[in-house]
C-alpha cells in the first residue's frame, strides 16, 4: 500500500525523518517494502527569475538572463514557447540533475546532469525546466502538464529550492500490510499506528456535514442477501456540480498513482484510500424505480461495468440493482449505465460491507480484480463503512460540489460499531511473552492503540475498537504489547519448565538416510524432482492405455499441462533429468532420487491416496551397462539388509532383453534395465541409459536382516575354478542355484569368464566360476573339496546337462 508522508502528516504531526519512521513501522509490524523519495532524481533546481529574454534570430530559441538569487545570475538558452521576461521558472543549475526527455518533451528517458553548453553560439549555463523534466504532473502542480516551462507563482522566492514548492520534498512509503490488519489498508488506519508508535495524538479528519430538508421521496434500499451484505448505507446528494478537484486532493491521489477524474469520483477514491472503505457513486438520474436492492444475480444475468466489459453472472455473484436492473457488481465495480457523467446533477453514494469470501470468489471467477475488490477480500469493517459515508458527505460540503439531502438509508444486520469490552489477565499476557512488561508500559501502549485500558489488580479491561476485528484473546493483547514495547526485550531462555523429550530420527528415516549415503558411495548424485509430471510423460514411457500408471491424480488448477499430474512413477522425471544433462554436455553420470509416487484409491479423490516412497536410479554413459546398474541394485540390497532376486522382465520403456524384475522375498518390488531405443531417441540421448525403480514402501514391509557379526571361520577355506560347458539357454542364476543347493560349504560363487566359439560347439557356451568352500566346525579333510566338486559336477550334469570343459 502506498502512503505519502505528506498525506500521513494530515493525521499525525510526524516528528521524525522518513528513514526513522520506516524503522519504527518495521519494528511494530509494518514492513516498508520501498521508501521512495518523490523528488529523488531532481536536485539543484531553484526558482529562477528571467530578467531579460531575447529571441535568437532564425531559431525558436531565446537567450535569457536568469537571476537565481544567491546562486548568481546566468545566461541560459531556452526553447520553450512560454518563456518571457519577468516570469519565474524552475532553473536547473550547472551540476543539477533532472529527467531527460525524448524529442516530444513528454517521454522521460532517464536522468541527466546539467552541464555548461553552447547553443547556436550562445553560452548556456543551466536549463529552464518543464514539469516533465522535474517529474511533476498537472495533478501535482497546476500548469506542470504544459509542454513548455513550468510557471512558478509570482511570490516564489528567487533562488529558493523548488522542491517544497512543487511537492517534491515528499516521500512515499510502500507498506506491506499483513492479512490480520485489514484496518490498516488505509492511510488513516496506518496513521493510527504511526501515532501510537511515535507516541503522538491522532488528528481525526472531520466527519461533519449538514443535511438539508430535501428528501428523495419514496426512495428505498433493501438487501435480500444479508449473508453477503451485512451493511449497506446509501445517501442522496443533490445540486451536484461536476468539476475539478482541488489541488491538494489531486496531488494526494497523484502520489499514490491515481489520476484525477472529477470531484465526485475523486471523493470516492480519496475516501477509499483514506478510510479503507470502497465507495461508489451512482448518477441518481439513471437509478430506475427509486430503489436500490442488493441481491444475488440471476443465472445468466448480464452487467456491463464502468470499463465497458460485459459479464454474465450467476447466483454466486452479488449485484446492486435499482428497481429494474443491475447497476453495479457489488464490491468489484460499478455499472456503466449509472456512471458519473459531466452532466450528473444528483448522486447516490454507497458505502457497504460485503462478505470478503464472496467478493474474492466473484473477482476470481470473472478475472476482475479492482482496488475495491482487493480491499473487500482482505476485509472491510463496519466502523469504516459508517465513517467513510460521513467523510464523503463532509468532502461534498468542503469541496462545495453538492448538497447533502436527508435521505440516508442504512440497512444493518445489527452489528455494533461501538468498542467491545475484553478482560484479560496481565499475568497471562506476560506468560505468553516470558517477560514482565511493567504495567504502566502496558497501559501506555494499549492506550496509544485506542484500547482505553483499565487495570484492576491482575485484571486488565480493554475496549476494543470495532475496526480491530483481529482481537480475540490474551495472546492478541500480548502481541499488541510486545510489538510496541519492542521485541528486543525478549530474552533468550530455553524452556526451563518443559519436560525432557528424546529426539532424533526413527528407524525408517535412518534407514532411508543410510541408503542415500550408500548410493553416494557408488558415485551417484541425489536429485529432487517435482512431485508432478506431464501427461506427455506417460506417452514417453509408452505405457499402454490400461496401465495403472495412467490413473494419475490430476491437479485441478495446474500452472500448466506439463505440471498437471501427480507422479505415478519416478521414471519419467529421471529420464528427463538424464536428457537435460546430456543436452548440457554431461555425457555420463549416475543419479538417484527417493521420492513419492501417488496411487489413488479412487478418482476423483475422496480419501488420502497412497503416497509410496520410491527409489529411482538413472545411469548413463559409455562405461555403464546393465551390470553396473545391477551392482548398484546390490548396493541397495546390502544397505537395507535384504536379498534381491532378478528374473527377466518386461517394462514398456525398457529393452525387452535387458530388463529384470527385482524380487524380494517372493514379492516384486521393482525393475531395472536398459532404456529402450525409441525412448532414448525421443529424448535425444547420445549414450545408453539404464533405469531402476524400487518401491521402498513395500520393501519396508518385508523382513530384513541387520548388521551382525559372524565369527571368522576357524579353519582355512579352499577355492576351485570350474569352466563349465552348457546350452546357451542356461542362465548364470540357474548354475549358481544348482551349485549352491548341492553343497552347504559353498560360501561364494563368482562368474569370472564367459566364452562362446570354437572349440565349444555352436549351440553351447562356456562359463567359468570361482567357487569358495569354507569349512564348518571341523577342518576339511585332504580330499573333502574334491568330493564336493565331484558331487557338484554330477548334479550339474544331471540337472542342467552341464559338463566340465575339457
Amino acid at each position: 500500500m502506498l502512503v505519502p508522508l505528506s498525506w500521513l502528516k494530515e493525521y499525525v504531526d510526524v516528528n521524525v525523518s522518513a528513514e526513522e519512521l520506516e524503522k519504527k513501522l518495521f519494528s511494530c509490524g509494518f514492513e516498508v517494502e520501498e521508501l521512495k523519495e518523490v523528488g529523488k532524481d531532481v536536485s539543484n533546481v531553484v526558482v529562477g527569475y528571467v530578467e531579460e529574454c531575447e529571441p535568437i534570430p532564425e531559431t525558436h530559441l531565446h537567450v535569457c538572463k536568469v537571476n537565481a538569487g544567491s546562486h548568481g545570475t546566468f545566461q541560459v538558452c531556452c526553447g520553450a514557447d512560454n518563456v518571457q521576461a519577468g516570469g519565474k521558472y524552475p532553473v536547473a543549475l550547472v551540476g543539477a540533475s533532472v529527467y531527460a526527455t525524448a524529442k516530444d518533451h513528454k517521454t522521460v528517458e532517464g536522468v541527466m546532469t546539467i552541464k555548461k553548453g553552447k547553443l547556436r553560439g550562445y553560452d548556456s549555463e543551466g536549463m529552464l525546466c518543464s514539469g516533465v523534466e522535474l517529474g511533476v504532473s498537472e495533478d501535482m502542480f497546476p500548469g506542470a502538464g504544459y509542454n513548455g516551462l513550468l510557471v512558478l507563482p509570482e511570490d516564489a522566492e528567487v533562488g529558493a529550492d523548488v522542491k517544497p514548492i512543487l511537492g517534491l520534498d515528499d516521500y512515499v512509503f510502500d507498506v506491506s500490510i499483513t492479512a490480520n490488519r485489514p484496518d490498516c489498508q488505509s492511510i488513516l488506519g496506518l496513521a493510527r499506528e504511526v501515532a501510537a508508535v511515535l507516541d503522538l495524538p491522532l488528528k481525526e479528519p472531520s466527519y461533519e456535514y449538514h443535511e438539508t430538508d430535501v428528501k428523495k421521496d419514496g426512495f428505498t434500499v433493501s438487501v435480500s442477501a444479508p449473508e453477503l451484505c451485512p451493511r449497506y448505507i446509501g445517501h442522496y446528494v443533490y445540486d451536484v456540480q461536476i468539476g475539478e478537484s482541488p489541488l491538494w486532493m489531486k496531488r494526494r491521489l497523484a502520489l499514490v498513482g491515481q489520476s484525477s477524474i472529477s470531484n465526485i469520483v475523486d471523493i470516492t477514491n480519496y475516501v477509499m484510500l483514506e478510510q479503507g472503505q470502497p465507495m461508489h457513486a451512482f448518477d441518481s438520474e439513471y437509478i430506475e424505480g427509486n430503489a436500490i436492492c442488493v441481491r444475488r444475480a440471476g443465472e445468466g444475468e448480464k452487467i456491463t461495468t464502468l470499463d465497458e466489459q460485459e459479464y454474465t453472472l450467476n447466483p454466486n455473484n452479488l449485484v446492486i440493482c435499482d428497481g429494474v436492473k443491475p447497476v453495479a457488481l457489488a464490491g468489484v465495480m460499478g455499472g456503466l449505465n449509472s456512471e458519473i457523467r459531466d452532466t450528473t446533477k444528483a448522486v447516490l453514494f454507497e458505502s457497504a460491507k460485503f462478505a470478503r469470501d464472496n467478493i474474492r470468489k466473484t473477482a476470481r471467477a470473472l478475472g476482475k480484480r479492482t482496488d475495491a475488490s482487493a480491499k473487500y477480500e482482505k476485509g472491510v469493517d463496519e466502523y469504516s463503512t459508517v465513517h467513510a459515508m460521513k467523510r464523503a458527505l463532509h468532502l461534498i460540503e468542503e469541496l462545495g460540489c453538492g448538497k447533502v439531502s436527508s435521505t440516508h438509508l442504512d440497512v444493518n444486520t445489527g452489528n455494533s460499531i461501538k468498542p467491545w469490552e475484553m478482560k484479560v489477565s496481565i499475568q497471562k499476557v506476560n506468560d505468553v511473552l516470558g517477560i514482565e512488561v511493567p504495567t504502566q508500559d502496558v497501559l501506555h501502549i494499549l492506550s496509544n492503540l485506542n484500547f482505553a485500558p483499565e487495570v484492576n489488580g491482575d485484571e486488565l479491561k480493554i475496549h476494543v475498537p470495532a475496526y480491530r476485528e483481529d482481537m480475540d484473546s490474551y495472546p492478541d493483547v500480548a502481541e499488541e504489547v510486545i510489538r510496541m514495547y519492542g521485541y528486543e526485550h525478549v530474552k533468550p531462555t530455553f524452556m526451563p519448565d518443559a519436560l525432557v523429550t528424546t529426539g532424533g530420527m526413527n528407524a525408517k528415516q535412518r534407514r532411508e538416510l543410510k541408503l542415500k549415503k550408500d548410493l553416494c558411495t557408488t558415485g551417484a548424485y541425489e536429485c529432487i524432482h517435482y512431485s508432478f509430471f506431464s501427461p506427455s510423460d506417460l506417452d514417453l514411457l509408452r505405457l499402454p492405455k490400461s496401465a495403472p500408471e495412467r490413473r494419475a491424480i490430476k491437479i485441478l488448477n495446474p500452472i500448466n499441462e506439463e505440471l498437471s499430474l501427480m507422479r505415478t512413477t519416478l521414471a519419467a522425471s529421471m529420464l528427463n533429468a538424464i536428457s537435460r544433462n546430456q543436452k548440457k554436455g554431461n555425457l555420463s553420470g549416475r543419479l538417484y532420487e527417493i521420492g513419492k509416487k501417488f496411487i489413488a484409491k479412487e478418482l476423483p479423490l475422496t480419501d488420502y491416496p497412497d503416497e509410496r516412497e520410491t527409489l529411482c536410479i538413472g545411469i548413463f554413459g559409455e562405461k555403464e551397462s546393465f551390470f553396473t546398474l545391477k551392482g548398484m541394485a546390490q548396493k541397495v540390497a546390502e544397505s537395507l539388509y535384504v536379498k534381491f532376486d532378478y528374473v527377466p522382465g518386461k517394462v514398456s520403456f525398457l529393452h525387452p532383453y535387458q530388463t529384470a524384475t527385482i524380487v524380494c522375498n517372493g514379492t516384486e518390488i521393482g525393475y531395472l534395465g536398459k532404456v529402450a531405443y525409441p525412448v532414448a531417441e525421443k529424448l535425444d540421448l547420445r549414450t545408453d541409459a539404464y533405469l531402476l525403480e524400487i518401491d521402498l514402501k513395500t520393501l519396508g514391509t518385508l523382513p530384513a536382516g541387520k548388521a551382525s557379526f559372524e565369527p571368522l571361520p576357524k579353519f582355512p577355506g579352499e577355492s576351485r575354478d570350474l569352466a563349465l560347458v552348457m546350452s546357451k539357454e542356461i542362465t548364470c542364476g540357474q548354475v549358481e542355484d544348482c551349485i549352491q543347493k548341492n553343497c552347504q560349504y559353498v560360501k561364494g560363487i563368482k562368474l569370472f569368464d564367459k566364452y562362446e566359439g570354437a572349440p565349444i560347439p555352436p549351440t553351447k557356451k562356456s562359463m567359468a566360476f570361482t567357487i569358495d568352500f569354507v569349512p564348518g566346525q571341523e577342518p576339511f579333510e585332504a580330499d573333502s573339496v574334491d568330493h564336493f566338486v565331484k558331487k557338484i559336477l554330477k548334479n550339474l550334469k544331471n540337472q542342467l546337462d552341464i559338463d566340465l570343459r575339457s
Binding site: 506468560d431 495472546p475 523429550t501 524432482h529 543419479l591 538417484y592
Partner: protein
C-alpha cells in the same frame, strides 16, 4: 700356515673389487665360505695335519679369517644392495604432477544436506522427526490451522487443488495437527516436507521444502522461542550469530514473528547479501494459536506451544550462494557435484 691365510685374504681383497651385483657377491662368497666346498672351510680339513700343540692357534686363525671374510662380504653386500635399491628407485621415477586416480562418490542433494543439518541440531534438543503428507485435505492444511474458508490468509498461498477437499500441502504446518491429534504433550517435533504453491519464477518454485518445528508443553514463551532459535542459528551459521524477532502474521500462531539472522556474510555490517541491512530473513515463527491447540483437543489454558517454519531452499541457497531456485531441481551434475556432503 699364516701365509696361506694371507693368500686367501689377498685373494678375497683382489676379487671383491670387481663385483657389481648381489648375485656376483653371492657366487664369489661361496668360493670361500661355502660350508662344504669353500676355501676357508677346507682349511679346517687340514687340522689333522697340524701339530697338536698348534691346533688351537690354527683353529683360531681359521675362525678369525672366516669372521674377517664374512664381515667383508656383509659390508660389500650392503653396499651393493644399497646401490641396487638406488637404481631401482631411479628406474621407478614418476611424474608426481600427473593426475591422481579419480575416486568418484556422489553427493546428497543440497536440500537433503541442509535438512540433515537442521535435524541434527534439533534432535539434540529433543525433537523427533515426523514426515508430512504431500497430499492433504482442506481441514488439516487450513481449517484446523485457524484458516477457515473465508479467511484472507488463504490468499497468501496459491493452492493447487486435486478435488474440492484434497489439495497439495501448502505448508508443513498440517503435520502439527496430525501430530497433536496422535500425541499429547510434551511434544517436540520437526516435520520436514515438500510443499506446493502455484508460483513459478526465478525465486519461486511450484514445489519447495519446509521444515516445521513444534513444541507444546507447559509455560512455553516467546523467550523460549528466541532462546531455541538463537541456539539453532549459532549451530548452523556459526557462533556469534544472533536472531532478531519482528512482528508478522500467520493464522496458526499468535503472536507471530519473522525471524531474521544477523548476516553471516558481513557479520551485520551490511553487504550485498543482506542488502545493506545486516539481517537476513530466515523463518517465520510464533506462539501456537490457542484455537489450533483447541482444535487438537489440547487445553490451551494448561499448555502452550511454539512453532516455526523454515524454508529449506532459501536456507540452502543462502548457505551456498546459489542464485536460482530452479538449479535445485534440474539435476545438472555440474551443479550437484559442487556441493560436497558435509
Amino acid at each position: 700356515m699364516s701365509e696361506r691365510f694371507d693368500e686367501i685374504k689377498q685373494e678375497i681383497l683382489d676379487g671383491i673389487g670387481g663385483l657389481a651385483s648381489s648375485k656376483a657377491v653371492y657366487e664369489f662368497k661361496k668360493q670361500f665360505l661355502d660350508s662344504k666346498a669353500g676355501k676357508i672351510g677346507l682349511l679346517m680339513k687340514e687340522m689333522k695335519n697340524i701339530a697338536p700343540e698348534e691346533r688351537a692357534s690354527f683353529g683360531k686363525g681359521v675362525n678369525d679369517l672366516k669372521e674377517w671374510a664374512q664381515q667383508r662380504f656383509t659390508d660389500l653386500d650392503e653396499m651393493i644392495k644399497a646401490k641396487e635399491l638406488e637404481r631401482r628407485y631411479e628406474q621407478e621415477k614418476i611424474d608426481v604432477t600427473e593426475p591422481g586416480e579419480e575416486m568418484k562418490s556422489g553427493n546428497l542433494h543440497p536440500i537433503t544436506q541442509m535438512r540433515n543439518e537442521i535435524i541434527d541440531v534439533f534432535s539434540g534438543m529433543g525433537f523427533e522427526v515426523f514426515e508430512n503428507k504431500e497430499i492433504e485435505n482442506d481441514y488439516y492444511n487450513f481449517t484446523a490451522l485457524n484458516t477457515p474458508k473465508d479467511h484472507p490468509a488463504r490468499d497468501m498461498q496459491d493452492t493447487f487443488y486435486l478435488s474440492p477437499e484434497f489439495l497439495l500441502a501448502t505448508q508443513t504446518s498440517a503435520a502439527q495437527i496430525h501430530t497433536m491429534e496422535a500425541k499429547k504433550p510434551p511434544i517436540k517435533i520437526l516435520c520436514p516436507g515438500k510443499v506446493f504453491r502455484s508460483d513459478d519464477d526465478a525465486t519461486h518454485s511450484p514445489m519447495f521444502h519446509q521444515m516445521e518445528g513444534l513444541v507444546v508443553d507447559k509455560k512455553i514463551t516467546l523467550c523460549d522461542l528466541k532462546g531455541m532459535l538463537d541456539v539453532f542459528v549459532q549451530k548452523i551459521y556459526g557462533e556469534g550469530t544472533t536472531t532478531r524477532l519482528r512482528p508478522s502474521y500467520f493464522p496458526f500462531t499468535e503472536p507471530s514473528v519473522e525471524v531474521d539472522v544477523s548476516c553471516f556474510e558481513c557479520g551485520g555490517k551490511g553487504c550485498k547479501l543482506c542488502k545493506g541491512t545486516g539481517w537476513i530473513e530466515i523463518l517465520g515463527a510464533g506462539i501456537v494459536n490457542r484455537k489450533v491447540l483447541q482444535n487438537c483437543g489440547i487445553d490451551p489454558d494448561e499448555y502452550s506451544g511454539l512453532a516455526f517454519g523454515i524454508g529449506l531452499e532459501r536456507a540452502t541457497m543462502l548457505k551456498y550462494g546459489i542464485n536460482n531456485i530452479k538449479l535445485l531441481f534440474e539435476s545438472d551434475i555440474k551443479v550437484l557435484e559442487q556441493i560436497d556432503n558435509n
